[in-house]
Symmetry: C2
Amino acid sequence: MNDTATRGRTTPSREAILDAASTLMSRHGYAATSISRISTACGLPASSIYWHFGSKEGVYLAVLQRARQALVAGLPGTVVPGADVPRRLTAFLSAVAEVFDRHPHDLRLLVGISMLEETACSAARAELADYRLALRRWLADSLGSVFGVPGTAAPAEDLAGFLLTIAGGASIARWFEDPDASLPVGDLHVALSALARSRGVLDDAR
Amino acid sequence: MNDTATRGRTTPSREAILDAASTLMSRHGYAATSISRISTACGLPASSIYWHFGSKEGVYLAVLQRARQALVAGLPGTVVPGADVPRRLTAFLSAVAEVFDRHPHDLRLLVGISMLEETACSAARAELADYRLALRRWLADSLGSVFGVPGTAAPAEDLAGFLLTIAGGASIARWFEDPDASLPVGDLHVALSALARSRGVLDDAR
DNA sequence: GTCTATAAAGTGATAGAC
DNA sequence: GTCTATCACTTTATAGAC
């Protein structure tokens, strides 16, 4: 992968290649997605793909970057509206569920990274770390707003970690058994309230 | 994949091939694990692998079957010991965490299946369904024992689904950021108690 | 059951005309 | 920027001696 990755940011052909690669890689994984299959899927010859991205890893990196940018751009603000904690929690969880539903294949894309050789593709690994961190920060800040504590406070960070775990698990469940499954927002409301109470950031009153 | 998969059930060479394939496939995925790499890893020629398993898919299927059998054989009974619900829940969750820690790479193996072509490898897909179902049944029956309801009751099934989601998510978190992470048993105790209460199978008393 | 040798196809990547 | 043509290599899988 060379610096050709920085050429021609948003040309139509570049986007067409990324669309095809994105679909194939999220469906079959990185290793099983060959350049020739991307080529036939988008109708452009292999050499065009190499001209745009320099290597197969370059294609992958660009796919990941585009996915992260789309996710981050679609995140609502971290100031959650609502009169009291239960209402704010409900509003927040429905926002999370919406983001979750809007990015159905992202985890499959990310999983591909961790299957790569340890030695290779450190740029893709950095991209993965950025992706996960951006989500975690948004969750923690929003949860802080819900419970009226700083987003950097331990309870907010803890609950964000718990919620991120659930989101990952729900993503797994979605692609293993039910493609249309969303987040269990009702149960999450109950569980997060209880966890907040156990950490002293929510009164015992319902 | 032909019927050679049924030959010589537990010969040493067969096990050596499965050991190597299991390691490589859980680390790099199905597509990135070639027969030649398995061959060099276990010291046997490619033709021996084909003699034992008939095809690459045959190797994969055998790896999955062995993993499921090992998991199922290691599950404790579904009658959970303990004087009251909180104690039984604690005992159950530590049993779950132990199983979780003992099978660190199973999810990575299973993820490989869902990356295969839709048309191919229906046997592996059936194996995946069996694997997940066995876990879910054990969880539901054990949770029924914890809360004193039948394992087929809706609350037990619901909580089992929730717990399976968390286990999947924790598995993701483990391989994405912290290889040594286990299940958050403390938080799970709080969360599952609250969910049980919301379903009326646990008194409001702590 | 294991070995060597090899066939047939697919892979990542590049050269050079246009 | 896209095209055709191609190289060097790896892939799955098989044939046949031992």
